[in-house]
């Protein structure tokens, strides 16, 4: 579905990605793990063309989107939805309008169809009844759910999750993790989850890619990650910084 080949990205003077090779298989949930500031979100934004690589290829359904002008990325972006770290709900619109927006953008005009699709998406994230609420009146967890509903309402083939549980309490984080898994089962979508939360990684992943020093340092299943003897992987799983008191 999505693959990147020898992807390099330099931001300012810092080379954030130093030759990433990764293939996301259709229907799987691949978790990209790594330290904060390690380039996970930067990598994710390449999958949808929000960032352009310094060099390398980004293939979405076989089409290289690296270097494509903004106006030609529309078709790719309709196949791939993204849940942003902050939710990124449009604060001038209520929940219903936020969800109706992507539907109108893909050309659906019939009000009944839009209402049905909005209802269905809100039902999937357990937020029926929140249609008229404005984003500022929603809690952090609710915002993430509404943002997720907005992502799935247009039924993309792939969903990218950028730190879906960051800033949420453990209970809300767990409910988001279950939601990601449930959506994957119900919608059969390909998912890429960027996180540094081990609980999210273990709960949602079919495969895990561990990013370290700008490269994919480890790629394998959850069990393979747990069994890995690699020091960097184990330090990350155990949360060891190496600093002393």
């Amino acid at each position: 579905m999505i693959s990147v080949r020898d992807l390099h990205k330099t931001l300012g003077t810092q080379e954030v990605l130093r030759g990433i090779d990764l293939e996301i298989v259709k229907g799987e949930t691949c978790v990209v793990l790594g330290r904060s500031g390690g380039g996970k979100s930067v990598l994710l934004k390449h999958f949808i063309g929000l960032l352009q690589p310094t060099s390398g290829q980004v293939l979405v359904d076989g089409e290289d989107i690296a270097g494509l002008p903004e106006r030609k990325l529309g078709a790719v972006r309709k196949k791939v939805g993204m849940l942003f770290q902050s939710g990124a709900l449009f604060d001038s619109m209520n929940v219903e309008q936020n969800l109706a927006f992507p539907l109108r953008e893909i050309g659906i005009r019939d009000r009944k169809t839009i209402a049905e699709r909005v209802h269905e998406a809100l039902d999937m994230v357990d937020l029926l009844g929140a249609e008229t609420k404005m984003p500022e009146n929603l809690s952090g967890g609710m915002r993430k759910r509404v943002a997720l509903a907005r992502t799935i309402v247009s039924r993309p083939g792939c969903i990218l999750y950028d730190e879906p549980t960051t800033g949420l309490d453990p209970i809300t984080s767990d409910s988001i993790n279950h939601l990601i898994r449930r959506l994957q089962r119900r919608l059969q979508v390909t998912s890429v989850v960027v996180t540094h939360d081990m609980h999210t990684a273990f709960h949602t992943a079919d495969r895990i890619a561990f990013l370290h020093e700008g490269r994919v340092h480890f790629l394998g299943t959850v069990d393979e990650l747990r069994a890995s003897s690699d020091a960097a992987v184990q330090d990350f799983i155990q949360g060891r910084s190496g600093d002393c008191d």
């Binding site: 078709a75 972006r77 939805g81 990124a88 709900l89 449009f90 953008e105």
Partner: protein, 259 residues
């Protein structure tokens, strides 16, 4: 010293280049992207309708004080009835468009930069892009078109209110004859003056819209970045209006020479 001058010049040229790129992108967007009537109407209301109070107050008090000052000078040489014509021509050709431009830059320009800047740092612009919507289509085009529609109307409203205030102060406070005042206004104010005001209004609309949208789209992360965007938008748009107005006055005076 020379290095810093060179660096400043380069950054100024780069800024102009990026504004020009945004202008080109806006024109392309108008041609190729679907038209968003609702957004345009909302922006006309936001920018045009809600800017009326500040424009009317500015116009009326400027007209009144200009009338008083002109009267104080002209009455010394027995030309007090010519006050209306001088005030009217000055308002149409210079003060009306410039003051309206400055007021709209302060009110609407700041609001545009703050709104788009907030959208930028809260990832709403990335969300738009992720949903396949070009930010220029959705954010810039409606604002540019709304300003292009609203500014000439606001300029005329400003000048109209200024002349009304001028008439009231001139005839009711300063004792100028009403018929003489109006006769001179009509006699010395021509279509050329109205056209000049309209052209300036359109040019200032483009400056305010592009500068404000650019500052918003390029807002830096964090509260400081969002706070700086409207300030920069007001300062740059206001200075640009004053500088462009100087050159525009000479250029337009060749096309629409003063009567």
């Amino acid at each position: 010293m020379l290095t810093s001058i060179g660096r400043g010049a380069l950054s100024f040229i780069r800024y102009l280049g990026e504004l020009a790129m945004l202008a080109v992108d806006t024109v392309i967007s108008v041609v190729v992207a679907p038209f968003r009537w609702r957004l345009l109407l909302r922006q006309i209301a936001e920018i045009g309708f809600h800017s009326q109070t500040v424009v009317i107050v500015t116009g009326m008090f400027t007209g009144a004080v200009l009338t008083a000052q002109t009267f104080f000078q002209f009455s010394k040489i027995g030309m007090s009835t010519a006050v209306g014509s001088v005030v009217s021509v000055a308002l149409f050709r210079e003060l009306g468009p410039t003051l309206t431009g400055l007021m709209v830059a302060g009110r609407a320009g700041a609001s545009i930069a703050a709104e788009i800047g907030t959208m930028k740092v809260t990832e709403q612009i990335d969300a738009l892009r992720a949903l396949g919507v070009h930010p220029t289509d959705y954010l810039v085009v409606p604002r540019v078109l709304a300003l292009l529609i609203a500014m000439p109307l606001l300029v005329m409203e400003c000048v109209g209110m200024a002349i009304l205030a001028s008439y009231l102060v001139g005839t009711q406070v300063l004792g100028i004859s009403g018929p003489y005042f109006m006769n001179n206004v009509i006699k010395y104010t021509g279509a050329r003056d109205i056209k000049m005001a309209l052209v300036k209004g359109l040019v200032f609309a483009v400056i305010i819209a592009l500068v404000s949208c650019y500052e918003g789209l390029n807002a830096k992360e964090g509260a400081v970045g969002v706070g700086r965007a409207p300030t920069e938008a007001i300062v740059i748009a206001s200075l640009s209006i004053l500088i462009v107005n100087f050159f525009l006055s000479f250029a337009l005076n060749m096309i629409f020479p003063a009567g």
